[in-house]
């Protein structure tokens, strides 16, 4: 049963990845892009998990862990940065 579902799941995750990419490219605000990048990390995580099941051996565990942690760190850092430059302009910094 898993075998039948897997291709569709992977396809869906890839599609989600692309959608994130589109939002990241389009913006329009810096917050949007940060959000998109954060989501990109999360979706990449899911994609890796699905691919591991498909390939039959788990992807490097530390890599998974690193992606999970670093996505968070990057988002927080970017948000802190945006908080600090708020005085800049009402127009999008992004």
């Amino acid at each position: 049963m898993t075998e039948t579902v897997l291709p569709f799941a992977i396809l869906a995750y890839l599609l989600a990845l692309l959608l994130c990419g589109v939002r990241l490219l389009r913006g329009p605000s810096a917050e949007d892009r940060v959000l998109a990048l954060d989501t990109l990390y999360v979706v990449a995580l899911a994609l890796i998990a699905a691919l591991s099941i498909a390939l039959g051996h788990p992807f490097n565990f530390e890599g998974v862990l690193a992606i999970a942690m670093l996505g968070f760190v990057g988002t927080v850092a970017a948000a802190l940065y945006l908080l600090r430059v708020k005085g800049g302009s009402n127009a999008d910094v992004g």
Binding site: L14, L17, L18, G21, L24, L25, G27, A30, R33, V34, A36, L37, L40, Y41, A44, I48, L51, F59, N60, E62, G63, L65, A66, I67, M69, L70, F72, V73, G74, V76, A77, A78, L80, Y81, L82, L83, R84, V85, G88, S89, D92, V93, G94
Partner: protein, 913 residues
């Protein structure tokens, strides 16, 4: 082993002293250190005087033929004894000179460090080691001159000394490398035996030039004499120790040491004796006209150093004997004179010769000691100075062959002798007699007994050597001269009385005319009205510094700020040219990349996403943050691609580096204008695009070619030997911490230095707490929950590093990122766990200790040991000493990363104070 103790003891003492608070304890420790060194040297005396050479050696960089060899012969023994003996006296003296100064422990620490450096120079049995210690003496001298740092004179003096002697150090390095090549070894004994080969070598003139530059700069020979006068801004104990008895003698030591190798040629004769003669006269005349007591002594030191140099330049065996003898004599009387001058300064509050007069009434004891020492300096009979001066006059008269100099030498000697008498007379008469003191800040009186004691000891030595030279100094002098000559010893006599002869007549003439000159100059205190002579050399030096600084400003103006694009373009172009140049020569067979083979089919989407964002990031309309976020996406794609190509190590490292970079750039961006000026003209954009494509494409292509070529690579060896040679299956990690451990040590040292520089520049005025973040209420809690897990994962990554992807570097980055996040969440750089300086220190210390441990066990530095001990309960544990080294790498990475990022986050902002 004793040699190693002698060499290391002062350094250990210095380290301890730097942590001490109590002046008494510091004094006891420093004094004990000097005395122990002296005692150890005393133990060796008999053996060394008998002509033995003791040696102890540890392989250091065996691949380069460099080893940490220590070697002592009679010449080295003599200088080492001077260094430690006068060191002990100066420490006693400084205890009272700087009584009540809370910086005393620091002072003693620096003094001991200098002693260690100087002993290193003297005892080094290897040229590279010698050059290293030589640099350390310059550094220690710099720190000691700058001891009263905010003081302008101290800072300028220290700067001049460091610039001049540092330049000399570079020259010495060059000389050492060439000499080592010419002689075929860096080992001192081998080099000393290879004099004929070296002198016949075509590089000989270059070696000699560099060598003499080093020697002359250190020993304040013309035209570098000016730094010594400036160095008088140092506390007087320093002047007595470094700038009369030891540091400036390092140059002389080197001249004597390498006389058998480099000496005896015409070039040597002319260069050394000319510089010596000019210095001798210049210093002597300048000394007479100084108004500063220490200035007078400084120029007299310059003059005496010139005298010794001149003697060595004469290149006759007896002249070398005289030079060695005068080194000893000068050290004793000049150190005591400096100490006496210090006492006068200390008691009067000034050392201006125009004010300090008639001291005899106030301090007869100091006066009588100083008068004896000054008489020795002038060369009055019955004192040691007389003996060596006599020998000097004899040499000057006996000089043959080189016509102009043979004629001029006696004349110059006589003139210098007279000048010497004149300034000695001035020292005695002006300070202790010549009326009454004028406008002294306080009423002088005798110093504490223990402060005068070191002076008394030295003066007593002057007297004893002067009266009964042979029993006192005969044996060590003979042995040292023998060692310096490297051959047979000439016949000479140390007797006080040689009958009526030329030298005696010259001595008498010098004495009479010197006193006469002084009397004429000082008539009606006329000398006090004369302006200071132009300190030749120093002004030129200052002008040179100024020119350098100005051209630096011009250069910076050309390069900085809005020229950033140009800078990057130039860099990229240079790289392209440098890489492309060899290809133009032909004979290079290009392989066109077959794209289809390179990309695994499943990963194509990842590659496309990465490429799209890489291209999108170059769009000119983007704001910096957007570019950064795009690059984040590219980084993720690259990491995934690495992982897909079965390079989990790279993937992991790429991810961590990526995030650390983004953090750093975000914080740096905040200091930059939000909007970068866009490049509008199409031509420019095309040009930049071309450069970018050439750079990036070229790099990629080169990498491609390199991978296709697969040269008989060392990597194969390393892969094959990772398990058997170092007990690890993660070849990357094994290479970093084991096979190339020494490189890694260098790299983490550079990393630490770079981080410290940034820290020092940006974080000079750290904002204690950062209100600007308006800390979120959720973030701190979240970080508190996440941090322990991050630490756990870091430990995990570190522990498995030797066998599986991970290792100290990645673990350190993870920990650092966590710590930075913690600091950011708390809004304060005073995060309880992020102590970057401590991390750095601990890491470097651990890495060094691991290396040193293998040294102590008798293996070359950083040899790694490994084993798989099977412990009860715990099971088999792969244990490699490299793991400890890796822990050091981890700590350095944590420290440096945290330091860099926090410096940006909390550092001083431009324009704000």
């Amino acid at each position: 082993m004793t040699l190693l103790t002698i060499c290391l003891l002062p350094w250990c003492a210095a380290l301890l002293l730097a942590r001490l608070r109590s002046a008494t304890a510091a004094f006891a420790l420093a004094g004990a250190c000097a005395l122990v060194v002296l005692g150890l040297l005393g133990q060796m005396a008999q053996a060394v005087w008998a002509g033995q050479t003791l040696q102890s050696s540890v392989a250091w960089l065996p691949a380069l033929g460099v080893s940490a060899t220590l070697r002592i012969d009679a010449l080295a023994w003599l200088f080492a004894t001077l260094v430690s003996g006068i060191g002990a006296l100066v420490i006693l003296y400084a205890r009272y000179y700087m009584d009540g100064d809370e910086r005393l422990p620091r002072f003693f620490a620096l003094l001991c460090a200098f002693m260690g450096a100087m002993l290193g120079v003297v005892l080094a049995g290897d040229l590279v080691l010698l050059a290293m210690f030589w640099e350390l003496t310059s550094l220690a001298s710099f720190l000691l001159i700058a001891f009263n740092a905010p003081d302008r004179g101290a800072v300028r003096g220290a700067r001049a000394a460091l610039a001049v002697t540092g330049m000399g150090g570079l020259a010495l390095m060059a000389a050492v490398v060439m000499l080592g090549r010419a002689a075929g070894s860096f080992d001192l004994a081998t080099v000393l035996a290879a004099g004929d080969v070296v002198r016949a070598d075509p590089r000989y003139p270059w070696i000699l030039t560099c060598f003499l530059l080093a020697v002359f700069s250190k020993s304040a020979q013309f035209p570098f004499q000016f730094w010594l006068a400036r160095a008088m801004a140092a506390p007087t104990p320093v002047s007595a120790y470094l700038h009369s008895a030891t540091l400036v003698k390092a140059g002389i030591f080197l001249l004597l040491r390498f006389y058998p190798v480099l000496g005896g040629t015409d070039a040597w004769f002319f260069a050394v004796s000319t510089a010596g003669a000019i210095t001798l006269l210049l210093g002597g005349v300048a000394a007479v006209f100084q108004h500063d007591l220490k200035g007078l002594l400084a120029y007299s030191t310059v003059s005496h150093l010139g005298l010794i140099t001149l003697l060595i330049g004469f290149s006759t065996p007896t002249a070398i004997v005289a030079a060695v003898f005068h080194v000893i004599n000068h050290a004793t009387f000049k150190a005591s004179l400096f100490m006496a001058a210090g006492i006068v300064d200390h008691e009067c509050g000034t050392r201006d010769l125009r004010n300090v007069n008639g001291m005899w009434r106030y301090m007869p004891l100091t006066g009588s000691l100083a008068i004896v020492a000054a008489a020795a300096m002038a060369g009055v009979p019955l004192l040691n100075g007389f003996l060596s001066k006599e020998m000097f006059f004899g040499e000057a008269l006996a000089l043959e062959g080189h016509d102009p100099i043979a004629l001029l030498a006696p004349l110059a000697a006589l003139l210098a002798g007279a000048a010497g008498v004149a300034y000695s007379a001035r020292f005695v008469h002006d300070v202790f007699f010549n009326g009454a003191p004028i406008n002294l800040p306080r009423t002088p009186h005798e110093p504490p007994l223990w402060m005068a004691a070191p002076v008394a000891v030295l003066v007593l030595l002057c007297l004893l050597v002067g009266l009964i030279p042979t029993p006192i100094i005969g044996a060590p002098l003979a042995a040292a001269a023998h060692a310096a000559l490297g051959g047979s010893l000439p016949s000479y006599s140390l007797a006080l009385w040689h009958g009526f002869n030329g030298p005696l007549a010259m001595s008498a003439l010098a004495l009479v005319s010197g006193v006469g000159i002084y009397a004429v100059l000082m008539r009606k205190r006329a000398l006090h009205q004369r302006p200071l002579p132009d300190p030749w050399g120093y002004r030129q030096f200052e002008r040179l510094l100024l020119t350098l600084a100005r051209s630096g400003v011009v250069l910076v103006r050309q390069l900085r700020g809005d020229r950033m694009r140009l800078q990057m373009a130039v860099l990229a172009l240079a790289a392209v040219l440098a890489a492309g140049w060899p290809l133009l020569g032909g004979g290079f067979e290009a392989h066109l990349p077959e794209l289809t083979a390179a990309i695994p089919q499943g990963g194509i989407i990842v590659w496309v996403v990465g490429a799209v964002f890489a291209i999108a990031a170059t769009s000119a309309r983007n704001q910096p943050v957007t570019v950064l976020l795009f690059l984040g996406a590219v980084g993720l794609a690259v990491a995934l691609a690495f992982a897909g190509l079965s390079a989990p190590d790279l993937s992991l490292t790429q991810l961590f580096v990526e995030v650390a970079t983004v953090l750093l750039l975000l914080l740096a961006l905040q200091r930059l204008p939000v909007e970068a000026p866009p490049v509008r003209s199409l031509g420019k954009r095309l040009r930049y695009a071309a450069i970018a494509v050439a750079g990036g494409g070229g790099t990629g292509w080169l990498a491609w070619e390199a991978m296709l070529r697969k040269p008989p690579a060392i990597s194969d060896y390393q892969l094959a030997n990772a398990v058997s040679g170092a007990g690890g299956t993660n070849a990357v990690n094994v290479i970093i911490v084991d096979f190339r451990g020494f490189d890694t040590l260098g790299e983490i040292t550079v990393l630490a230095a770079a981080a410290l520089i940034v820290w020092a520049f940006l974080a000079r005025e750290r904002a204690g707490v950062l209100g600007r973040f308006q800390g979120s209420f959720m973030l701190p809690t979240a970080v508190k929950i996440v941090m322990p897990f991050a630490a756990l994962v870091a430990v995990h990554l570190y522990l498995r590093g030797h066998n599986l992807p991970g290792g100290g570097f990645v673990a350190g980055l993870l920990l650092a990122i966590g710590l930075v996040l913690e600091a950011l969440a708390l809004g304060s750089w005073r995060s309880p766990h992020a102590r970057p300086v401590r991390w750095l220190a601990a890491g470097l210390g651990l890495a060094l200790l691991t290396g040193a441990a293998s040294l102590a066990l008798g293996y070359p530095f950083l040899t790694s040991a490994f084993g798989h001990p099977v412990l009860p309960v715990l099971g088999e544990i792969p244990l490699a000493s490299a793991a400890l080294f890796d822990l050091g790498v981890l700590a350095v990475v944590v420290g440096a990363t945290v330091m860099l990022i926090l410096a940006f986050a909390f550092g001083r902002e431009e324009g704000k104070k």
